[in-house]
Amino acid sequence: MNYFIDSLSAAIELIFSFDPDIYQIVFTSVLISITAAIIAASLAIPAGVTMALNNFHGKAFIQHLLNTLMAMPTVVIGLLLYGLFSRLGPLGHWGLLYTPTAIIIAEAILIFPIMMNLSITAVKSADPRLVPTLISLGARPTSLIINVIRTTRLAMLAAFVTGFGRAIGEVGAAMMLGGNIEGFTRTMTTAIALETSKGDFELGLALGLLLLIIAFALNFILSWLYSRND
């Protein structure tokens, strides 16, 4: 028990010592995850809204596919992209392996089905009169999608935050594609895995606490926005 409490107090000390190495890792993590979340959201939210608003052949199949992809292990995505980006792979000449871009691509792919599914749910749970009202007022396909997103913006923000949370907590693909290079591709999760295996439990715990603080802050902001909207 003493070991855990001593480590915890050391971790808190590390956080408040504002060690540049720790905050470099936090910054890299947040930057990669935010970029991945923005890219995924800019594709998944319009795609989800379009899918929810239209009926077409194969819709049920896409829905099943999305559900399957939501449960896909991150190492599988890491493995597939590793095959594509490695020197001998078809996209090897792009030189993306062991770069933040590779992690961003992996995380965007990972959270795309989550965000798209949540966007579909957001439209389905919106007032059923919303879409007929917008159509009767003259909305065309593009303005319809924009106004549906605008009206369901809080649910869409929740989809974004959920996707971001999934991305920042991801470790498998980040490790395989980023290579955990210090100051470049080292994220909070890969650093926690590495430092703990090296025996530096305090640093791992400090990063873990910061990860929890980020998750808490995001959820707090989201709840505040919800309560403001009510």
Binding site: R129, T133, S136, N147
Partner: protein, 329 residues
């Protein structure tokens, strides 16, 4: 003058049930038209077709002489204003909701403010402009929804059950609003109502809708059943008609064609029933009676006849009408 709408061979099914079956229907320009029918008669479905927010399975709809095959173009879209039975206002202020309609209709920004002011004045909602949409009362919400529908100055205003769930004050305001809009040159109003009297009071013309079909008959004494050998069987009574349309499943009997008497009449009238008087209601210059003969019949008589027959609730009376008074559809 070109008709506002021309509907031809419209068929629309909902959950495997034929919800609308209209061989032909013309809605003229510049009239205030009431769409009357019971709940489930297809009024809302027809209005949604007229608003082009839903599509028929079969048939053709022409808008001002132009057949609409797929979606409306921007000019056609601007001709129609539609207000749902339970209007939905987006989160935000009343003014933002009205402005949204102008944005969606691609009206130039410099025209927004004067048009919004005009719509607010026409609907007597200027004082609500900065109110949040979720704080409005039912009557205010309906008037704001109408303001949003007329802000881009459409030629046609479609209103689904505008008077439902409104108190007398808001109902009167809404009647005035509809009549003011209809008074303008070449403006067409189509509104649905299940209140026949109210519909007749403010409209120029009436469209009766029964089980998804338009009918020339008034909406009283409509019975469902089967027709065989000129005899229509409702399951409770049998009614003589002159029709041989075996595929028809409804009849309607004009309440003014029914003769009421204390004793059975000796006449050539093929249909004669006796029943108990269960309702006496005063209507403007006439009296409406409801007689339970197995099926409930509505009969309209004059106040003098009511006195002469010395009628009272629970009394047994006789009804007679000719088979030619029965419309089969």
């Amino acid at each position: 003058m070109t008709n506002a709408y021309q509907l031809t061979n419209i068929k629309l099914s909902y959950q495997r049930r034929l919800a609308l079956d209209i061989p032909s229907l013309t809605i003229p320009t510049g009239k205030c038209i009431a769409l009357l029918g019971e709940n489930g008669a297809g009024k809302s479905t027809l209005l949604k077709l007229l608003a082009f927010t839903s599509r028929a399975d079969k048939g053709e709809i022409s808008l001002f002489g132009q057949s609409i095959q797929s979606s409306l173009n921007s000019i056609q879209r601007q001709k129609i204003g539609f207000v749902d039975q339970h209007p939905y206002l987006l989160p935000g202020t009343v003014e933002a909701n009205i402005k949204l309609a102008l944005k969606l209709q691609d009206i130039p920004v410099q025209e927004h403010q004067p048009l919004i002011q005009l719509a607010l004045e026409q609907t007597k909602t200027s004082h609500l402009a900065q109110k949040q949409s979720n704080t409005l009362s039912g009557g205010e919400l309906k008037r704001v929804a109408i303001a949003r529908a007329i802000v881009y100055q459409p030629d046609i205003l479609l209103l689904d059950e505008p008077f439902s769930h409104l108190d007398q004050h808001h109902m009167q305001l809404l009647e005035e609003l509809i009549l003011d809009f209809a008074k303008q040159k070449n403006k067409t109003v189509v509104f649905s109502s299940h209140d026949r009297l109210q519909g007749m009071a403010i409209s120029d013309e009436i469209i009766n809708l029964v089980a998804g079909q338009t009918t020339a008959s008034p909406l009283l004494n409509v019975f469902h059943g089967t027709l065989s050998e000129h005899l229509f069987d409702t399951g409770k009574i049998q009614v003589h008609s002159t029709s041989t349309q075996t595929e028809s499943h409804h009849i309607a009997i004009d309440p003014r064609e029914i003769i009421l008497s204390a004793q059975p009449l000796q006449s050539s009238m093929r249909n004669s029933f006796s029943g108990r008087l269960i309702l006496i209601a005063e209507e403007e210059e006439s009296v409406r009676l409801t007689v339970d003969c197995g099926e409930s019949f509505h009969v309209i008589i004059s106040p003098e006849s009511l006195n002469n027959l010395n009628l009272s609730l629970g009394k047994t009376v006789c009804l007679s009408f000719k088979s030619t008074a029965v419309t089969v559809f």
